[in-house]
């Protein structure tokens, strides 16, 4: 799997992502800056977390207009795989590659803590190493992660089975208390209709090594490495 991590001014979680990808592929991902071109032979594009362009206007709104995102849109149109985490999820939404919006957390507080998520759909390039219904722990750190979409969009997401992850308790219950940022229907992450684009707010890349305190997030990267072998 040849992965590229795209950074913008203000991105700050690219090194964690690099570590996670290197751990499963054995080689360094390509690190690209917003003015670079996206090479054609890439299997996976990753938009990591951070505060691109200082969150000006709306989180992800400026990055969505940056030069490299035209290449990323073309990559998506060719059926490329894209992972967006945290600010990366916000950028995918602002780019229109995933539906909905991410509002200020319902509590208005920046949340820096662990959460638990339930895998709502297994068998994708992002989730093949999990069983449907698996619960895993993940750190999260964001101020604007409150997923919102209108009812028609939500019904389509649920009807087409495009909800990737939901916030739950450690035991897997979908409760309001487990939904710290207030996301509609506890949605933590979603897929594009072709299942090749995945965006989520929490950071699975921050739990991929026992030294980090656990390997709960590792299955996502193992899934990608296994699914995208010389794709």
């Amino acid at each position: 799997m040849k992965a590229a991590i795209i950074t913008f001014p203000g991105t700050n979680r690219e090194r964690d992502m690099r570590t996670a990808l290197k751990r499963v592929t054995g080689r360094d991902p390509l690190m690209l800056f917003h003015r670079d071109e996206l090479p054609k032979d890439i299997d996976l594009v990753v938009l990591p977390g951070g505060f691109s362009y200082g969150d000006y206007l709306r989180c992800g709104a400026m990055a969505a207009q940056s030069p490299i995102m035209k290449d990323v849109r073309d990559f998506a149109a060719r059926g490329g795989h894209i992972l967006g985490v945290c600010n990366g999820f916000q950028i995918l939404i602002e780019t229109g590659l995933l539906p909905g919006g991410l509002l200020r957390n319902a509590s208005l507080r920046f949340l820096s803590m662990d959460c638990h998520m339930r895998v709502e759909r297994a068998g994708t390039a992002f989730t093949s190493r999990w069983q449907k219904g698996a619960i895993f722990r993940s750190p999260m750190a964001h101020g604007d992660g409150n997923y919102f979409a209108d009812d028609a969009t939500l019904d389509r997401l649920e009807g087409e089975n495009l909800v990737a992850f939901r916030y739950t308790t450690e035991a897997g219950e979908v409760t309001d208390a487990a939904n710290r940022n207030g996301s509609v229907r506890n949605i933590a992450g979603i897929f594009s209709p072709n299942l090749r684009i995945c965006g989520l707010m929490p950071h699975p890349e921050d739990l991929v090594d026992p030294l980090m305190g656990g390997t709960d997030g590792l299955p996502m990267f193992e899934s990608l490495a296994e699914s995208l072998v010389s794709a």
Partner: protein
């Protein structure tokens, strides 16, 4: 020609910022605040001198960048 774009959270979209401001006003002793919504105003100084054309341009800017129409509504005023 100057144009102002008012961007507001859509009706029905939770506005935690507005809610927090409402609570703070209550805390200051202002009674009778039924609801607060917080948005933003973006002022544009456009080279265009035709009001209709300026409005059209500002609306297109709002749709493409200034507002996220999934969660926000906008209104353009010419000044």
């Amino acid at each position: 020609m100057k144009a102002r774009v008012y961007v507001m959270p859509k009706n029905g979209v939770l506005d935690p910022q507005g809610k927090a401001i409402g609570h703070a006003l209550e805390g200051l002793g202002f009674a009778g605040v039924n609801d607060v919504r917080a948005g933003k105003v973006i002022e544009l100084d456009l080279a265009e001198t035709n009001p209709d054309a300026a409005r059209k341009t500002a609306e297109e800017m709002a749709r493409k960048l200034l507002a996220n129409t999934v969660i926000e509504s906008f209104r353009v005023e010419l000044a």
